[in-house]
Amino acid sequence: MKKGIALAGNPNSGKTTLFNELTGANQYVGNWPGVTVDRKGGQLTEHEEIEIQDLPGVYSLSPYSPEEVVSRQYLLGEKPDLIVNVVDATNLERNLYLSSQLMETGLPMVVALNMCDLLAERGMKIDTAALSRQLGCPVVAVSALKQTGLHELIQLMLAPAPAAPKQLQYPAPVEHAIAQVVEEYSATRFEAIKMLEGEELLQKGVSKVKAHALEDIRMELEASMDDDVASIIAGSRYDAICSFIPEVLVQQGRKEHFSQRVDAVLTHRIAGPIIFVGIMYAIYYLSINTVGVWGTDWANDVLFGPVVGGWLAGFIGTEAAGVEALTMFSSILAMILIFPVMLRRLHDLNMNGAWLYLMVAPFLLEYVCPHLPGVLHTSILCLLGLANAALLGLCFFKRGVKQGNVYGSRTHGFCKAPMKLTGRASRTEFISWFILLSLIAFGAGMLGRCTLACSPQLQAIIADGIVAGVGAVLGFLPQMAVLFLLMSFLEDCGYMARVAFMLDRIFRAIGLSGKSVIPLMVSMGCGVPGVMATRTIENEKDRRMTIMLTTFVPCGAKLPILALIGAMIGQSATVATIAYFTGFGSVILGGMMLRKMHMFAGGYNPFVMEMPTYHMPQGTNINLRAMERCKAFVQKAGTVIFLASALIWTLSNYNWKFEYLNTAENNAAVKHSMLAETGRLFAPLFSPLGWGDWKPAVATVTGLVAKENVVGTFGVLYAGSDIPEAEADDTLPRSSDWLKANALNALTMGIWQTDAATRAARPAEQQQEAEDPAPADIPSSGSWLLDRINMVVAYLFPEAEQTDETSGVASQVRAAGAFSTLSALSFMLFNLLCAPCFAACGAIRREMNSPLWTWFAIGYMTLWAYAISFITYQLGLYCTAGTLGTAQIVAALLSVLIIVQVLRPTPNK
């Protein structure tokens, strides 16, 4: 017989930390199941018969917010055998307010008094025996963070359920009214109180006559207390709690705690926003400019270059890979395969911090050591070697810790997925997997000497189609990992609430809330983590709106498009300015428009929000969360981009008769491919935007894989265009300035460089890049923000921009005469605003958790992009050439429609 136990408590009371520790973090994380909030289930370690439910944090059991509904339905509907009420000891009054309602449900209850250690730091102490007397249920002092008191709590969970707790006594008129309702409707005390409060949910079954009787009781109560029922009851609860607080809370030393002093600086009127910008910059700098990019560069230049590429060529090609590449391949594969089981073994040894070492050691080897003088280099290598040997020795020979481990003492069976990150691994399990996986990795590495000499077609589809696609995804991963770690840290320590607090005013004006700011900022670097950062927005409408708007922000991968169009028109800075204005303008207008649509309207989102106290986040928590997110990213976005790049490769390399075109060797053949044919089919759709040719249409489609592909595709498709040799040679290097201007390009260049078609189209440029690593005209400061500033400066001082006038691809496209200034602009706007790249679409799909909403979001973005490009092109035609026809009138009507939608008052709902 399974025993159900519910963990209930206020948000931020440490429920999830406790849950992870009780269940050994064996949770199956139900990411937003259904549509609303998650309720996680897990089993108590070593006692699988006990099922623990981690309910979403609530302040009350009223049926208003989705969290409250989920918690309430579970407690009242499924009637767990025991409620473990997690109470934040530093916030006793408000936490006991929820307890008073939980007590009324009549279910057996145990209070887990969390964060007692924090309370002690403030010079206070809670008398658990007195509290237990007052509440009539067992009270255990625990610290989920420091793992104290867990043993006692588990004993209580295993013991037969205690008697139902006693009820708090309210003032006489309230008790009288409750008694009347209980008698009249044969309701429980909980139902009676909720009926008095006027909840419709419980009144449905009540007949009209009886409803009148209820109304009478309420009127009588309101008359006797001179207030309305809801506040009488809330007040009575708090008064009842306050009456015994002095007995329970001892040594009340009132000192301003640490949190408030920190807050005085971090949310200061002037210093606050400055610090916020600084923190955001630091996050960018670490994840996008430095650490993340190092990892990404390594993945693209080393891992997917000589290592995997060489291995693949040796495996299915004809040229056996070198020993060095194969050794590296097998050791990297072995490291990846063994990492999860190693992590679990470290949990078993209670050495959770060691994961950091596992992450840092390769980084030291790869980036720091080569730059050090010889002696230091050797000594660090020796140290790392010793540390590795020591770690392995411990993993192989040390017994696991049976008691007091964060992850409990249960081990997985041998056959339980070796890729599992949570839980523990015993010595035997670790040794077995270590040997087995090493052998697998070694064997896989040896395949690199097979030289199977498969058909070139198969080689091409694997190397250019699949490995290029997977490489493009995995190339994002180091950046993601750093970003997720830092974001998890900010979330855990309590700073996010302050950011929302500071910026709420600004974002409310455009229909979003203060919490939308982080995703938008992150999206300037890359839309994928931007979409994922929306997780911190609890309100569902706000979250969905933010997801729909956040990819409008021009991300790093869209910069090459700006560069291309800028070079084509000859006004790079103006184009960049237009792009940024349109991007952020779309967020603002989109916010104002969406807020007025039926599905987002109404439901005023209150900002009555608790500001949590700052605390040092727990390393394991952050680590687990970041790793879960990385795993999810690889799984979900990975499958989408994998399929999409394979599909586009196939479409561009075969014609309708499924004849292989081999575009790698014959660029011109692409115009016979299925992709080109399909492009021709859809091209008329884009002619109202001014670019109804099949080539831009195809470029738009390939841009869905990664936005820089637009430039690459142009390079391929317009390669035949007649251009003066000299001009091309003269101008080629300049486009690389733009490509270097953003570190993110370097990472997304992965797909570009491995894409044989584009590689063939741009050999001269790459050669130039290699020869001239630091171009002078745009200082490659390595700083992402500075480059943006440079763009603004270049705009203000046009002379500085002269050198960047044209680029190779741009001159080819210009020579083909396919674009006018207006149609180029409209093309750019469409590509900036329409559906984001597949990786971002995958992220949207994941965060929306609903195919319908995903398609709605993508459809909305594409429609908006179409409308904006259409208006730009057609009204532009009217302004420049004086053309006036149906299209211009439609465009004018469309813009009026948008203005009306933006300005009309929000409908009441």
Binding site: E93, A230, Y238, T267, I270, R508, P606, T613
Partner: protein
């Protein structure tokens, strides 16, 4: 008469007040009540956000942020 009563959004920063009554209706009001802003509760207005809207107050020993519009439904007395 209601127009003359003091509301939380009119209180100077740093002052301590006592809740007289919570106006408004529905989910928002219930939320305010649930957070401990009930009759006779003591509230200290801590600070205003950098751009002047949400307020930060201390009630029942914790920090609460709420918008001015929401604070306006809370009637207080010194």
């Amino acid at each position: 008469m209601e127009t003359h009563s003091l509301r939380l959004n009119q209180v100077k920063i740093g002052t301590k007040v006592r809740v007289v009554r919570v106006h408004g209706a529905g989910a928002l009001r219930q939320r305010i009540l649930d957070m401990g802003v009930t009759k006779n509760a003591e509230i200290t207005v801590r600070k205003m956000a950098p751009f002047g809207d949400p307020l930060e107050v201390t009630v029942r020993g914790f920090q609460l942020s709420l918008r001015k519009a929401e604070a306006a439904s809370i009637e207080v007395a010194r």
